[in-house]
């Protein structure tokens, strides 16, 4: 059979740089092709995440300052990351393979989800398992999912003011299930105007990357303590 795909990379190292370049260019077709090449060379999915996706996410993070923020670019990278993750884990990332599990949602009455989707992709790109409950999600469904999925944190994205009272109920809903250890992180254009104390959450993120850093630091501190 004639191979019509791109010229095979000489080595996995070369393949990784091509994958990272394709991801950052938002070229999902090329990213998928490079991922398949790496798999054909025997590179395991976990390594493609850590040496490919995570590196690309790190570069994107460096580029995305408040002045340089470009939603279209991030959405295209996000689409490429999703395609790669789907190729690597067609059944979804299993709990023991991911670094930790987070559940994420926008709450009842809020249909904004562009920001939430970016947070999901950034965390997926960093190798975490993310359970996305979508938008318009009741607080109780969020807490139930945190229990079911053994989540380390619940992440809420809020763009309209009417969800503020619901965000304030998240902690109590978790406590009612004995989930006092689960961290609550908020973000999104509306919620980030308020302080953690106003919302009864552990952290209010300015950007998706800022939130991801908070979560990574939280896990690193736990690992160091263990």
């Amino acid at each position: 059979m004639v191979n019509a795909g791109p010229v095979p990379p000489a080595s996995p190292a070369n393949g990784f740089s091509l994958l990272i370049a394709a991801l950052l260019a938002g070229d999902h077709a090329a990213a998928l092709a490079e991922t398949r090449q790496l798999r054909a060379l025997g590179v395991p999915p976990e390594q493609i995440v850590t040496a490919g996706l995570e590196v690309a996410m790190g570069r994107l993070d460096e580029k995305c300052t408040v002045e340089q923020f470009n939603l279209l670019e991030i959405m295209l990278v996000g689409r490429a990351v999703s395609v790669v993750v789907h190729e690597l884990y067609p059944e979804g990332i299993q709990p023991e393979k991911g670094r930790a599990t987070f559940v994420i949602a926008t709450l009842e009455g809020d249909v904004h989800d562009l920001g939430k989707n970016i947070v999901r992709t950034v965390l997926l790109g960093k190798g975490f398992r993310v359970v996305d409950l979508g938008r318009d999600c009741p607080v109780d469904a969020l807490a139930a999912a945190a229990e079911r999925e053994q989540a380390r944190a619940v992440l809420v994205s809020g763009l309209i003011s009417t969800v503020v009272p619901q965000v304030r109920r998240v902690r109590a809903a978790l406590r009612a299930r004995g989930l006092d250890h689960v961290a609550v992180v908020a973000g999104g254009a509306a919620l980030k105007q308020l302080a953690p104390a106003d919302l009864d959450v552990d952290y209010v993120a300015e950007t998706a990357f800022d939130g991801a850093r908070y979560l990574e630091n939280l896990l690193a501190a736990e690992e160091a303590a263990a």
Binding site: E67, L72, M75, G109, D113, S161, T162, A189, L194
Partner: protein, 343 residues
């Protein structure tokens, strides 16, 4: 000075007796008067009454015939879901991902969806206030309406994958805005507010704004002026520092700046354009924020005292469920007196 004179003076950088005070109060006017938002958004008379009452209570300088960002999309065929205390959202968009906006024509403001209710509200408010206070009409800007046609995420992917098709969506949106705006001006609006939240760099990168949106906004502003607008106000929330300087070429009279951009930066970016802003809208939810809002408002007034060309406002909508004490704190800082804007 009355409200309209005050705003016109600020637009011309002329002195005013007190700072013009135009809080972005829309659905708040209904909730504060004890009405359901869904009713307010369907009934032009109720909208007019609530706006007039809110202005009477606070002494603000304008009333708004603004309903919600989905009204034009609904008139074009989208299906909406309504709520008691929050704005509607689109449950079925106008176009499927593969469809082309070229097949659509702007809706008729006299008959499509709720558009006639807005014209009714404008007429009632203008009859009530005459020339004593500014009657502001409202239209959804090109980027926001274009993205609403498909749903935002789908639309943004189309903008990248099939730019020409997205341009046709932008053109339909621009034509819709102009026709609805002209109808509101004919019904008696003094000013036209172009709300284009999706044009914010939070969504559309600055070079996208410059190449795709700026020319259409300039055309829209010129068209509104030709249709009789005394004042055109471009209202985009969020981190707008990368695009604010372009508003001067677009030709707007008033530019909103949100809390992301401080007063000094806004003045630098738009030295000859009247600026409206920039209190944090979510602060108004907290009754305990009243003193802070008062202090920030005073600082803003101070920051513009030598330059002029300023309207005290919030950087985005003051949410419908805001605390009355927080809203009053703003009126107080402006030195606005209740019940001062009758014809």
């Amino acid at each position: 000075m009355n409200g309209l004179e005050r705003i016109l003076a600020a637009v011309r950088f002329q002195p005013t007796d007190r700072v013009p005070f135009v809080p972005q109060l829309f659905g708040y006017a209904a909730i504060a008067a004890g009405f359901r938002l869904a009713d307010y958004l369907h009934d032009g008379q109720l909208l007019a009454e609530c706006q007039l009452r809110s202005r009477e209570t606070l002494g603000s300088d304008a009333v708004f015939a603004f309903t919600d960002f989905s009204i034009e999309a609904e008139a074009l065929g989208a299906r909406l879901e309504y709520y008691d205390a929050q704005y509607p959202d689109i449950v079925v968009p106008v176009l499927q991902p593969q469809e082309d906006a070229g097949r659509l024509a702007p809706p008729d403001p006299a008959s499509a969806g709720r558009l006639p209710q807005v014209l009714h509200a404008v007429g009632l408010m203008r009859a009530a206030v005459g020339e004593s206070c500014c009657v502001a009409g409202a239209i959804t800007g090109p980027m926001t309406l274009a993205t609403q046609l498909y749903g935002t995420e789908t639309a943004l992917f189309i903008a990248v994958d099939d730019p020409e098709r997205f341009e046709r969506a932008l053109d339909l949106a621009t034509a819709t805005a102009l026709s609805f705006g002209a109808a509101q001006l004919a019904a008696g609006a003094h000013a036209m507010v172009v709300f284009d939240p999706a044009a914010s760099p939070a969504v559309a990168p600055a070079d996208f704004f410059r190449t795709r949106l700026q020319p259409r906004l300039a055309r829209l502003v010129a068209g509104l002026r030709a249709a009789g607008a005394q004042i055109v106000w471009l209202n985009v929330a969020g981190p707008t520092a990368p695009i604010l300087s372009l508003y001067a070429e677009i030709g707007v009279d008033i530019a909103t700046f949100d809390y992301y951009v401080d007063a000094a930066a806004a003045q630098r970016l738009l030295p000859r354009t009247c600026l409206a802003g920039n209190l944090k809208s979510l602060d108004f939810l907290l009754p305990e924020a009243a003193p802070r809002i008062g202090a920030q408002a005073s600082a803003l007034i101070q920051a513009f005292s030598t330059r002029g060309g300023f309207i005290l406002s919030s950087g985005c909508e003051i949410p419908p469920e805001s605390a009355a004490a927080a809203v009053s704190a703003l009126a107080h800082a402006a030195g606005a007196k209740a019940g001062t804007c009758r014809s």
